[in-house]
């Protein structure tokens, strides 16, 4: 579903990804773990198309609901319409724009990109309320400005509410587990399973720690170090990393 080949990318002339190759098939959950500064977040941003992250070599092919495409050719909002979702490590606060307005604009822009009819206000609210309930996010938070005054945990839940509403084919979740307490971690983990565990979907979980993987069992675990995948394995690799540390395992 997502095929990354020999990806090189830099920020301000500094190379961060140095030939990264990875393939994620439909129906799979892959976890990427690695030490600080290895390039984990950069990978997420490059796939999302964030300005300032320049791809210097390599290719990314995305085979979503609309068929295969060159992901790097597309604008960020076109990647979203093609079925890609990027969960942010630090969700951004947007004063003056309500969650409801933001999500309705998002969803309807994506639908327009796919030649689908926009959802009415009532249809949208029904969908949004159901997702907020499922993730234990209070209804009134939907009316509040995007992420403004939300706690760290609420911001992460809000990311999952957004994912539930948008219902993407492929999700890249960047440290969705950071800042969550144990209960919130389980709720978010359940959310990922509920929304994304389907034969026609896939997930790339970028994480520092093994604990989220107790709730979202990965099919594959990769170690990202110094801009490359240095080791891949099954779910047991995450436990080994937790026990022995990156230095030990990667060396």
């Amino acid at each position: 579903m997502l095929r990354i080949e020999n990806l090189h990318a830099e920020i301000d002339g500094k190379e961060i990804l140095k030939g990264l190759t990875l393939e994620v098939n439909a129906g799979e959950v892959h976890a990427i773990m690695g030490p600080n500064g290895a390039g984990k977040s950069t990978l997420g941003y490059v796939l999302g198309g964030r300005p300032g992250y320049e791809v210097t070599a390599g290719s990314v092919t995305f085979n979503g609901p609309e068929g295969p495409c060159d992901l790097l050719e597309k604008e960020p909002h076109e990647r979203a319409a093609a079925g890609l979702f990027l969960g942010f490590q630090y969700p951004v606060e947007i004063p003056g724009v309500s969650n409801v307005q933001f999500l309705r604009e998002s969803l309807n822009a994506q639908r327009a990109g796919r030649d689908e009819k926009p959802l009415s206000g009532a249809e949208f609210l029904k969908l949004a309320r159901a997702q907020a309930d499922a993730l234990g996010l209070a209804q009134d938070m939907l009316k509040r400005p995007v992420n403004v005054g939300f706690s760290g945990g609420e911001k992460k839940r809000n990311e999952m509410v957004q994912m539930g509403i948008i219902d993407p084919a492929f999700a890249i979740l960047d440290e969705t587990d950071s800042g969550l307490d144990i209960d919130a971690l389980r709720i978010v983990g359940d959310g990922i399973n509920r929304i994304m565990r389907r034969p026609d979907k896939a997930v790339l979980l970028i994480t520092h720690y093994q604990r989220l993987l107790d709730y979202v069992k990965p099919d594959r675990v990769h170690v990202l170090a110094d801009g490359r995948i240095t080791r891949s394995g099954g779910a047991e690799l995450a436990h080994q990393l937790e026990r022995e540390g990156y230095a030990e395992v990667v060396a």
């Binding site: 198309g49 604008e75 822009a109």
Partner: protein, 392 residues
Amino acid sequence: MTAVLDLPSTREEAWRWADLGALSAAAALAPVAAPAHEFLDLPGARLLFVDGVLDEARSQLHRVELTDLPTSDHALGRRAAGKGWRLSLDARAAADPVQVVHVATGRENHLPAHIHLGDDAVAQVVETFVGAGWQNRHLSVTLGKGARLMRSVRLLQPAGFVSLREEADVGAAASLVAVFLGAGGQGSRIDARLTLGDGAFGDYGGALLTAGEQRQECAVRVNHAQPDGSSRQLWRAVAADRSQASLAAAVEVARHAQKTDGEQSLRGLLLHRTATVNLKPELEIFADDVKCAHGATVGELDARALFYMESRGIPRARAQALLTRAFVNDALERIGDETTRAAFEADADAWLEASLSRRERSVGSTAPRAVEILPGAEPTQLGPLGAAEGEG
């Protein structure tokens, strides 16, 4: 050409950003046909002035009268002498909204006005400027004890200049709220001085949107003459192309005006790096037990917020429009009446749409031109963390 030679020089601090040359240029513009004008769907008085003269056939005065008004000694205000409109309400009276539309077909026109509210009286006034040429207004306001006046003023002339000089005396526990929107192509100067009595409330603010070579400015001074007053000055400027928007807001607190609570928030948004926003928050405090918060920032749209929105599927131009609108609406949400607020928001939206679609077509950008920010201000990127608020 008109005689504007007796206006102050821009070397005078209070006039440093005034575009005085534009006054005579505006007055020299070729005449235009009277543009379409529309009153909002509100009950109450409707005054239509064409080139400063009341069009009686198309006006309904209700409680407003036309009369000779005293002059001001202000450089702009004194030009608007003679016959003008007056709204005078007795104690505890409440009038339906008063709408005033000022249409100009060219050259220059000057008109004074006076609003007097007796104790506990309540009024709402909505003014709209359309057409071309130079329109100059002088307004004096006197509010009795506990009176409440809400004003909303929009400048929608495609060209020319609008200059407003306003002098307000806000009585004890009275409230004056004025919201301005500059969303036309005209130059402007909003020049005001408020004097607040015991426990009075004064709120002067708005949004100036500039494009092309346009220059708009506000220069507002709020004087806390008595204790326990509070004031709020919230101004937003959005500048595109090579335009210039300048916000100067001053708070003066007299020696015995203890427990004054003043708040200033001046923020500028540059849509292009060739545009200029000048901010000057000014505090002059002689009392020792006061709270005066002030914040001033100039920046561009928050790049992180833009990418966040794009990553959810919102195209870049739309994301820019949503963020810019949220920025401007901060200043418009003070308008209490829903019909009026919706009209002002629609005017701001129309400006944003025109300006942002032009922006999409423009190519390249050059280095930022001077951004001048005076004491207490600090340039930052706008965003949730962008507001450099301080207390002084």
